[in-house]
C-alpha cells in the first residue's frame, strides 16, 4: 500500500503504535504456549515493518522542512 497524505500517515502511525505496544507486551510474557507466542510475534513484526516502510516511503518524498 502506498500512503499519499499526512492523514493516511497519521492513521497508519496510530495502528503502528498499537501493534508495537502489543509486540513489546508479548516480549515480556512468559506464560501460555511459547510456540504460538513466537508465531504471533513473527507475524506482528512483519506487519510492523510493513507499516514502517510505508511511512518511510511517504516521508522520503516530502520536501525538506526549512
Amino acid at each position: 500500500m502506498k500512503l499519499n497524505s499526512e492523514r493516511e500517515v497519521r492513521n497508519t502511525q496510530a495502528k503502528l503504535a498499537r501493534l508495537e505496544a502489543r509486540y513489546e507486551s508479548l516480549q515480556r510474557e512468559t506464560g501460555g504456549d511459547a510456540h504460538v507466542r513466537e508465531l504471533t510475534m513473527e507475524s506482528l513484526k512483519r506487519l510492523i515493518n510493513q507499516f514502517k516502510e510505508e511511512i518511510a516511503r511517504f516521508e522520503a518524498h516530502q520536501p525538506a522542512a526549512r
Binding site: L3, K15, D33, T40
Partner: protein, 133 residues
C-alpha cells in the same frame, strides 16, 4: 451472503462470513490475477485446516472492487497446542503467492480484526471476509 461494496469499493463494516465457493464466486473470477490469487486462497485454507487454524479472515485489496488486487491479507487464529500438523504449519509460514499470512493468538487476532484492518488508510470503517468451512 456477501454484501455489496460501498461507494469507496470496500465491503461495509464488519466481518462477513462466507464459504470458499462464495468467495470464489464474488472475488476469484474477475481477472486472471484474481483467479491465481483464489488458487492460493484455496490452498491456504486447506493447509490452515490441516494445521488446526481456528478462524481465517481475508482482507486487503482482494476483497475490494479492484480488478487486479495486489495481495490477499490473511489473518489466521491459532489456538494453544498449534499445530496439529507441523508440515502444514511450515508451508503456511513459508508463504503462498500473493498471500500475506499472519498467524496470531486470540488477543492479536481481535486487535487485527477489530482495529488494524477494520478501517482503510483514511480511517473509514470497512469490512472483511471470514472464511467458513
Amino acid at each position: 451472503m456477501i454484501p455489496p461494496f460501498n461507494e469507496s469499493g470496500f465491503l461495509p463494516p464488519g466481518v462477513h462470513r462466507a464459504a470458499l465457493a462464495e468467495v470464489e464466486e464474488r472475488f476469484g473470477r474477475g481477472s486472471e490475477i484474481r483467479r491465481v490469487q483464489m488458487d492460493s486462497v484455496r490452498w491456504m485454507a486447506e493447509l490452515a485446516k490441516r494445521a488446526g487454524v481456528e478462524r481465517i479472515i481475508l482482507n486487503g485489496s482482494f476483497v475490494t472492487d479492484i480488478m487486479e488486487p495486489n495481495d490477499v491479507d490473511c489473518v489466521l487464529l491459532v489456538p494453544e497446542g498449534f499445530p496439529m500438523e507441523p508440515t502444514s504449519e511450515m508451508e503456511l509460514r513459508r508463504g503462498l503467492p500473493f498471500l500475506e499470512i499472519l498467524l496470531v493468538e486470540r488477543e492479536d487476532f481481535d486487535e487485527l480484526v477489530d482495529v488494524t484492518f477494520a478501517s482503510d488508510r483514511f480511517g473509514a470503517s470497512k469490512g472483511m471476509i471470514e472464511l467458513i468451512a
